[in-house]
Amino acid sequence: MSEFAVELKDLRVEFLAPGKRIEAVNGVDLQLRQGEVVALIGESGSGKSVTLRTVMRLHTERNTRITGTLDVNGKNVLGMNPRTLADLRGKEVAMIFQEPLLALDPVYTVGAQIVEAIRRHEGVDKAEARARALALFEKVRIPSPERRLAAYPHEMSGGMRQRAMIALALACNPKVLLADEPTTALDATVQIQILLLLRELQRDLGLSVIFVTHDIGAAVEVADRIAVMYAGRIVEEGTARDLILAPRHPYTIALLKSRAHGAMTRGTRLETIGGSPPDLSSLPPGCAFAARCTLATEACRAAQPPAVEVSPGHHARCIRTDAAAAIAPVALA
């Protein structure tokens, strides 16, 4: 088994639209170790979802150009033919989505969908597959699992559906789980249940997980390491502890400061990030955040900042990390 569950090296993804090229992912380096959970945080347009979907090559081939290295369990995914890719999906890598209603087929019962997935990849008979589906439902803590196997997606509540989707994803014992904002659409009390469930499953099954979200709080609950993305690049990466307690990239710091966090008192103004999000079809040559950064210098605008090691395992793509340390938010009480 290779050292890394997922390895991305200088991954670049471009979408070609009439008249322009959208550089959605611009040189992402990411290493997901076996049994690790990495959260990809970013706002809209940061490239986090595109990166995730590229791991399974979910984008339509037309008008998409992918370059760089993309290895899953040591296998080169970018070079795979459709047949091998279909074998990879579901069996070695599985994905859960934000809106289960969109991911689950509405005309089949959830049980039928899981059985189909198992039989496609493992070739076992129906009874065996059904038994495994039942076991999966129990594992994801769906109450009355027997009955729920025969339910259609629209008959289930939001949290239940999300659990069913997780069960479907785990049906063929994948090694890698990709989660695309799975809890964003859920109520708070259900979200925390699903987050804890994911942590528990990850621990029990030894899964390697990439968890994409815009919610820093959710990321902290599940992730060992966090990577912050901006304009298609990872601008800071480190353990959850490092990133929250000692952020060193101005964007990370600005994000943390702009949250109306529980520590914010009424009447104080929220700190905002000036300017507007970058235009992915015409990115500047230097640091993409320089236009909005209070610490930016000419050097920042001139060239892409290299990855600076702040501490072992903690990197930031910024040449002003020292100044950033001065404006970092005070640790939470």
Binding site: E43, S44, P143, S157, G158, G159, M160, D187, A188, T189, V190, Q191, I192, Q193, L195, L196, H214, D215, I216, G217, A218, V220, E221, T239, A240, R241, I244, L245, A254, L255, S258, R259, A260, H261, G262, M264, T265, R266, G267, R269, L270, E271, T272, I273, S276, P277, L332
Partner: protein, 364 residues
Amino acid sequence: MNDVTATTASVDPRDVGGPRQPLMRVQALKKHFPLKRSGLGFGPKSAVRAVDGVSFEIRKGETLGVVGESGCGKSTTARLLMQLIVQDSGELVFDGATVGARELPLRDFRRQTQMVFQDSYSSLNPRMTIEDSVAFGPTVHGVSSRDALNRAHDLLARVGLEPARFAGRYPHELSGGQRQRVNIARALALEPRLVILDEAVSALDKSVEAQVLNLLEDLKRDFGLTYLFISHDLHVVRYMSDRVLVMYLGQVVEVGTATQVFDAPRHPYTRALLRSMPSGDPMQRTTEAPLSGDPPNPIDPPSGCRFHTRCAFAQAVCSQTQPDFIETAAGHGAACLRWQPGSGYVPPPDFPDLAENPAEVAHV
């Protein structure tokens, strides 16, 4: 912290009852949405009991936050307050006058209460320019189109959108945050006194959300507004609100100042909700989900106290008796049998109590 009963420096000429009179009083509001009968039309009649007896008041100059999860009825309540849907029973009293009665016809009420919706894109007519969308309201009430357009331009500038650059644009050319600013400008065009913000920032990126929240605070101060702020994000509600209302399954379960509700919640649901929010502190990860299961369906709510099926402190009496709303401290009340004298509930030792027991305070 703002004094809840103080109003802005200048008194609104439309003010009737003075600072002590609530701007909006909601009394026993009920709205059920009937469902088709099952069994070929002969089965039992059921309904979605979206709002089932809700009463509260909004004080002048405050921001009242409303929190709750899906099925709690907060969006339906907002639409009822705006009279976009009509309640089955219950009354709305705006500054002392019953809404819809002769003293306050609907048209006049609409000039004083406006709403900002969650989906910034679908709230704007895709075929109308920004300035036309904002100017529409005033033209309906007799303002000349030229004056209305001028007012629209003024408001666009106020919300941070340069009229020269944005007035002639269409909604699809703007970003989510910009569109929401337009919606706010549109709501203010009629010079309302009460603005209902129904998940107005929920769909925005965090950094944009911060900008819009700052803007809302500025506008509230400048225009002397009162806000009803509905959101599922507790952090934002805590930041924005003077007082907070917690809803569950169509009913109000707790009301109090933001400090009271967040630091010393009285209702087990409020406590569970607060503890469900991820703290964002990597040293204190949640180990146990405070509530199990999904929020139940408002079609067939549980008997007695509606929360008893998920409550960690439920006893037999909770499934039999519906709790009344009891005030436990000045301005702070909850609908829970534990606080109801003579209900038959025996409070266990670990029941969340006031800040007398600091260890029990919810971490937010």
